[in-house]
């Protein structure tokens, strides 16, 4: 009866796994917002901006914003660029020198970011200003247009499901699961790092933001999405899960002959 018992044990374990899997599959995936630090109360915003800049940015970007050997010039980059880098936590920079800045927990409160943006923009003086912080309104009516633009301009690097991609040269097009609508449009206007500039009209910008926002809660009607990056993980799962389960079944069913039941009439 050993083989019958081991078969039963296997099936029981499989059923338990199944129940767990069905339970997990029906849970919705949500992504949490990036953590922020509580604001320090400062009475004068512009002074706050200058103070914060001196503390956190000047060592790499220069006290006048003209850049040093450690960081590029910020003169004329525009409010959108500064807001993007700060609100995604990319700046202040942490990581290997000359490596790509990555999204991480935001170091400043919303007020502090606003003041820093104002300060950096003011450093540019009379020089032509870069893109301003966009106002973004999403709308269901724009979803299809947003998908169309995304498929043509964004999916090649960020993936069809916005799960990110390796684009060579040590660069990574990051996953878009945490991008806010404003950050999405800011990135397109600014072209941060290796990302090129996509200066679309306002309606198209809103459309792309709508679609990226939709992607973050996109339904997966077929079950677990296994990373959403296509045939590579699917093939891996086919071998490990599919062939793995079948090998267990095959070995259990095949081996069971080795010891025929001594009492077949039980």
């Amino acid at each position: 009866m050993r083989t019958a018992r081991s078969l039963a044990a296997f099936l029981l374990a499989l059923t338990a796994l199944l129940a767990l899997a069905v339970g997990l599959a029906s849970a919705t995936h949500t992504s949490g917002p990036a953590a922020g630090h509580p604001a320090a109360q400062v009475s004068d915003p512009t002074a706050m901006g200058a103070e914060l800049y001196a503390q956190s940015c000047a060592s790499c970007h220069g006290t006048d914003g003209a850049g040093t050997e450690y960081g590029p010039s910020l003169l004329g980059v525009g409010a959108a660029s500064v807001d993007f880098q700060l609100s995604t936590g990319r700046m202040p920079f942490a990581g290997q020198p000359a490596s790509q800045a990555k999204r991480k927990p935001v170091a400043f409160s919303a007020d502090q970011i606003e003041s820093l943006v104002a300060h950096v923009v003011s450093l540019a003086g009379e020089a032509p200003a870069g893109p301003a912080i966009p106002t973004v309104t999403t709308s269901d009516a724009l979803l299809a247009r947003g998908h169309e633009i995304f498929a043509g301009s964004c999916a090649p690097c960020h993936g069809a499901t916005g799960n990110g991609g390796a684009v060579g040269g040590g660069a990574l097009a990051p996953p878009l699961d945490q991008a806010t609508t404003v950050q999405t449009v800011e990135a397109m206007l600014v072209g941060p790092g290796q990302m090129p500039v996509f200066a679309l009209g306002e309606e198209d910008q809103n459309a792309v933001a709508t679609y990226v926002d939709w992607l973050q809660d996109a339904p997966t009607p077929g079950g677990f999405s296994i990373g959403g990056i296509g045939p590579v993980p699917e093939g891996f799962v086919a071998w490990v899960v599919g062939m793995g389960l079948l090998l267990v079944v095959v070995v259990l069913a095949g081996r069971s002959w080795q010891r025929p039941d001594p009492d077949p009439d039980r």
Partner: protein, 453 residues
């Protein structure tokens, strides 16, 4: 009573009796071929269902189904029918997913089955013909997979078709003509979708199912091979009869295989073509890979250095050697191995008793080297995904794998050779001529009575 009616017309009682009592040896590794067969059964059953909903038409229509991001977009009728099947047909999505998972597992099972046959020397005389049929079945399975996953006409599979087209037109002298013939013109054509459909549901399945029947018929005629177990010699086979033991076990296995595939088809999303979008020759999404069993070919295209040259005024494109020559050589060696090995090993005898994997060091080493090369190429096919997951620069992955493609099989060959030699030295091969006592049972069969030293 029914049997009497049939027998009066077909007279097959004695054939039935010998068939039902036919002995099949037992080892779990002999069931791998069956698993592949049962995957095929699932593929055919789910495939018929899919065929009744799919429309093989590349003409453009405006999508107006429930998937919001595509509403109002121009997509092909084929793509729209796949979305309709996935979102608007009851049980449509689960059938589609079971079908696709079954295809991936089908080829995996075939690969394991081929490995078992190869490493145990089951292809040796008199089974060379069945090996050839089997390799043919493997190629047909690959072709079925490629034609199948291209039918939805989505951006990912369409990009794969583009690569296939490019490899074809890269063949010297005949390439462009062949490419235009197969596709019906310069890529992309509307007609390729309906042609792939014809291959996928009619021409290739006919060859595949016919080949499977021949494969099984030869196996039936020659009787299955078996490992060296007590009682087994080159002149006998030890096992259990076809009916009821093997039939019950195989039926159970078929249902369990279908169960595993159903579980995967329900819980694991596969090939979500709605996220890739419809095919558009002027755009692409990343990462771009074919299904796993073509990954090795994509990997070969990725790893091969940028070499393009002219020979007597004929340009040899950079895709020709990795896309046609190298796979051609590999498959040629694989196909002809049952004829190569006897010449190298000096053994042209009939064999019904299987080798242990280490009994033939050359075969095992060549097999391991080939397998490792295949694995390296398959990983290379996903080098950008590997780079993404492990946060390694893509260029570094490519260069590492280029070196690995050459170094790993060589090291694997040498290590396998040494291990085989060592294991051969250590184990006492049991003498297959060791006497066994057999007792005749009342029902007419034989059973073992014990061993004599």
């Amino acid at each position: 009573m029914i049997l009497r009616w049939v027998d009066e017309r077909l007279g097959m009682a004695s054939w039935a009796r010998s068939g039902l009592r036919k002995i099949f040896p037992d080892h779990w590794s002999f069931l791998l071929g069956e698993v592949a067969l049962f995957c095929l059964v699932v593929l055919v059953l789910t495939g018929v269902f899919l065929t009744l909903f799919y429309v093989p038409d590349a003409a453009l229509v405006e999508y107006d189904g429930p998937y919001a991001p595509l509403v109002g977009q121009e997509v092909s009728r084929a793509y729209a029918s796949v979305l309709e099947l996935s979102f608007e047909v009851k049980a449509g999505l689960v059938m589609r997913q079971v079908h696709h998972w079954a295809a991936l597992v089908f080829v995996a099972a075939i690969v394991l089955h081929v490995m078992r046959v190869f490493f145990t020397g089951a292809f040796r005389r008199p089974r060379e013909i069945n090996w050839l049929v089997g390799i043919g079945l493997l190629l047909l399975a690959l072709a079925m997979g490629i034609t199948g996953y291209s039918l939805p006409d989505d951006l990912l599979s369409g990009t794969g078709l583009r690569v296939i087209y490019s490899v074809v037109i890269g063949i010297p002298l005949v390439g462009p003509y062949l490419g235009f013939l197969l596709f019906g013109g310069e890529f992309p054509t509307e007609t390729i979708i309906s042609r792939l459909f014809v291959f996928h549901i009619m021409l290739l399945p006919a060859l595949l199912i016919g080949g499977v029947l021949v494969h099984l018929a030869i196996l039936w005629r020659q009787k299955h091979t078996q490992f060296r177990v007590p009682g087994a010699t080159e002149r006998t086979v030890v096992g259990r009869p076809f009916w009821p033991s093997q039939v019950f076990k195989s039926t159970g296995l078929m249902l369990l295989t279908a169960a595993v595939l159903a579980l995967m088809g329900g819980l694991l999303q596969i090939n979500p073509v709605w996220t890739y979008g419809p095919f558009d020759a002027t755009t692409v999404s990343a990462p771009a890979q074919p299904d796993w069993y073509v990954g090795w070919l994509d990997g070969a295209l990725r790893l091969f250095p940028p070499i393009e040259f002219t020979l007597l005024g004929i340009t040899i494109p950079s895709v020709f050697i990795p896309g046609v020559v190298i796979p051609g050589i590999a498959f040629a060696i694989m196909t002809l191995w049952p004829f190569i090995e006897p010449r190298l090993a000096g053994d042209r005898e009939e064999h019904h008793v299987l080798d242990r994997p280490y009994d033939n060091a050359l075969r095992a080493s060549v097999g391991v080297a080939g397998l490792l090369a295949f694995v390296v190429l398959t990983i290379a096919g996903g080098n950008d995904v590997v780079a993404l997951i492990f946060n390694v620069p893509v260029e570094a992955m490519t260069n590492i794998l280029r070196v690995a493609f050459v170094a790993v099989p060589i090291v694997g060959f040498w290590v396998t050779w040494r291990i085989c030699r060592e294991l051969q030295r250590r184990t006492d091969a049991p003498d297959p001529r060791r006497p066994v006592v057999l007792r005749r049972t009342a029902s007419g069969g034989f059973e073992e009575g014990g061993h004599e030293r």
